[in-house]
């Protein structure tokens, strides 16, 4: 179990609580092709660089509404994204930029949406918390905790009934395991053997509250798996190889009729919960330990140790940087949506004007 949690202390000031730090287990030694490894690395870079750009843009006050970044948590979306089939379905949360990208949404589309432009994924009407991309099976980002786990069962069920072989992957946070919908969803999935994979990104915090203070078990997702007859799976969510490997296994299981899985991936967000949060409630040593165990640092070092050249990786970094710059320009060039667009897409007849 790649994490150690010490006893509860410091109730009034979480920043003085004992640190909960990663316990790396090193290269799992998987037999993956060079292309696969470079694919994972590229995806990590894309998610990281785009998220950093999102951060810069909101510091310039260009991002509409609030936004939640997954800096530091990219290996989960990257590992699953690379393992999923193009026609698989994904459900994400308000912290969903990375998941949209890893399911194939364009950088332009994501950035333009954050800026609230017409060329955004949602035509500039959804913003950071509501990204979706129907053509790519990105079934949406949901900002109501827990709700989307029950929704994910529905697309999984539809795939089962249509015998399409598609798997639904549903991402959510540690805090989400304590709302009723999580438990309802797991039971449905288990009873009907639905082709769905629930992925808990355990970043140790439910907003500003350490998850262990408000959860009955140490591992908020994995320790509940047995209640639904599911395997207990805890993985190092900052090790993209391990995420990818687990993803392949549980996706194949679901695809071949073996039913649902619940995966708990341990990770950490390097910044605050949302735009307004500096994240000061966390112990400095804890933040430092996870920053040192950043998924990109981990994978970069691993690839070097495996004989990939520094130039190869730098070339990837630069290429991604160019893409992000181009996407930023494209996004900024987009027009703001027409004000009238707020009256559309409410009812099937094209608008709500008949009621307004």
């Amino acid at each position: 179990m790649p994490m150690s949690i010490e006893a509860d202390q410091g109730l009034y000031d979480y920043s003085t609580r004992p640190q909960r730090t990663p316990t790396p287990e090193g290269d799992p030694g998987l037999s993956l092709s060079d292309d696969t490894r470079l694919g994972l690395y590229t995806r990590l870079q894309e998610l990281r660089q785009l998220e950093k750009r999102a951060y810069d843009l909101f510091m310039q006050n260009l991002v509409k509404g609030t936004s939640h970044l997954s800096l530091g948590m990219e290996a989960v979306a990257a590992g699953f994204g690379q393992a999923m089939r193009a026609d698989d379905y994904a459900f994400a949360t308000y912290r969903g930029h990375a998941h949209a990208l890893s399911k194939g949404a364009s950088m332009d589309g994501v950035l333009a949406e954050l800026l609230g432009r017409q060329n955004g994924l949602m035509g500039g009407k959804g913003g950071s918390m509501h990204l979706s991309d129907a053509a790519r099976g990105m079934m949406g980002s949901y900002a109501i905790i827990g709700a989307h786990l029950t929704l994910a069962n529905g697309t999984a069920w539809s795939a089962q009934l249509r015998d399409s072989g598609q798997v639904t992957v549903c991402f959510f946070g540690d805090g989400t395991t304590n709302i009723g919908a999580f438990h309802e969803a797991l039971n449905f999935a288990a009873v009907w053997d639905l082709p769905v994979v629930f992925v808990c990104e355990n970043n140790l915090y439910m907003e500003y509250t350490p998850i262990d203070l408000i959860t009955s078990v140490d591992h908020p997702a994995a320790d509940r798996a047995s209640a639904y007859g599911l395997e207990r799976i805890v993985i190092d969510g900052n090790d993209v190889d391990r995420v990818y490997d687990t993803a392949l296994r549980v996706l194949e299981k679901a695809r071949s009729g073996g039913g649902p899985s619940l995966v708990e991936a341990l990770t950490y967000r390097s910044g605050g919960h949302s735009r307004a949060d500096p994240g000061k409630y966390r112990p400095a040593e804890e933040v430092k330990a996870w920053a040192d165990y950043d998924p990109i640092i981990v994978y970069h070092q691993r690839l070097l140790a495996r004989g990939f050249g520094e130039e190869t990786l730098t070339e990837i970094n630069n290429k991604v940087a160019d893409q992000v710059n181009q996407a930023t320009e494209a996004a900024k060039a987009g027009a703001e949506p027409e004000l009238e667009s707020i009256f559309t897409e409410l009812w099937a007849d094209g608008g709500s004007t008949w009621r307004n």
């Binding site: 109730l11 609030t66 509250t209 707020i342």
Partner: protein, 324 residues
């Protein structure tokens, strides 16, 4: 006396409420962080973790537990982070909190307060911006109140806590930090069910509540500067509703504009209009006007400003009632 904004006045009210051992606060991040809007700042440090409780994200669990505490003799105050996050607690609020007195023939009661920040203001669309007060008004058994000033915020929260019935206490997000007012240090009560008569006038009645009071007051200033004699009422309480003050105003001016932020159809303004028609029809000199949000999902930042009724829309509606 201190100059406080609404968030600070609520904090002062909660702090004074916690002097009563029966009062318990519970909600997501209300303890160490002091809540998303910092309304409960410092209370955990002052009253300890048995009284100020950081809960899991689980609105049904929070309201359910508050209900049980109330039935058990405590005076819980539950915080929902935003209006849109109160919906997972619908079952508890509508089916149980609102109905237990009736269902148990008065043997059980649930005198609790559910604080819900509501309305637009942070530009994040949907769940973080909506005004669904009418849904709660449709649940007989709960009271629904909404202060618009720091003074009322403190006095009404303390009154809500004294009330023998459960109270949905709505807090207008846009006004949390926008107005400051002298607020007494000591505990005082502003009775629930009594509207505030902010301005006496003869020509037209402007009636609003909560987040819209800033626009209503600004519209009244503009109209007054043009020589219109404006009557202004802040309803403060939707349940119980101060029909008397509203009907009296309608009878005196004969012209009524009702303002709400919520979408138009079947909103609380429609209820006010209906009561005016029922009880003051023969005093009216013009059709009653409603100024409301649109029947749409609350949109993102720039468009949000378009959704929220503007001062200009309120003024225009008043002028329509004044046309000869």
């Amino acid at each position: 006396m201190a100059e406080l904004n609404i968030a600070q006045a609520l904090n002062a009210a909660l702090s004074s409420a916690l002097e009563d051992d029966r009062v318990v606060l519970l909600g997501e991040d209300v303890g160490t962080t002091g809540g998303v809007f910092r309304v409960t700042d410092g209370l955990l440090q002052k009253y300890g973790p048995d009284r100020v409780i950081d809960t899991p994200v689980a609105e049904s669990g929070i309201v359910g537990a508050a209900f049980g505490m109330a039935v058990g003799g405590m005076r819980p105050i539950a915080e929902m982070q935003f209006m849109g996050f109160s919906y997972p607690a619908f079952d508890q609020i509508i089916n149980h909190v609102a109905r237990i007195r009736n269902r148990s023939q008065g043997r059980f009661t649930a005198p609790l307060v559910i604080r819900i920040p509501y309305g637009a203001g942070i530009g994040a669309a949907e769940h973080h911006s909506e005004s669904a007060e009418a849904i709660y008004v449709q649940a007989p058994g709960v009271k629904v109140v909404v202060p618009a000033t720091p003074y009322d915020a403190k006095g009404m929260l303390l009154a809500a806590l004294d009330d023998p019935d459960p109270v949905i206490f709505l807090e207008p997000i846009r006004l949390y930090r926008s107005i400051k007012q002298e607020v007494p240090d000591e505990a005082y009560r502003v009775p629930l069910g009594v509207a505030a008569h902010l301005r006496q006038g003869r020509d037209v009645s402007l009636i609003g509540y909560g987040s819209m009071m800033r626009e209503v007051n600004a519209a009244a200033d503009i109209l007054a500067a043009e020589g219109v004699s404006v009557d202004v009422i802040d309803l403060r309480s939707l349940v119980p509703f101060d029909a008397e003050m509203v009907i009296d105003s309608a009878q005196r001016t004969g012209r009524v504009v009702v303002v709400q932020e919520a979408p138009r159809s079947a909103g609380f303004a429609a209820e006010v209009v209906a009561q005016v028609q029922e009880k003051a029809l023969y005093s009216l000199n013009a059709p009653v006007e409603r100024v409301t949000g649109y029947d749409i999902v609350v949109p993102l930042r720039r468009a949000e400003k378009h959704f929220v009724p503007s001062v200009a829309r309120v003024v225009a509606a008043a002028r329509r009632t004044l046309e000869p």
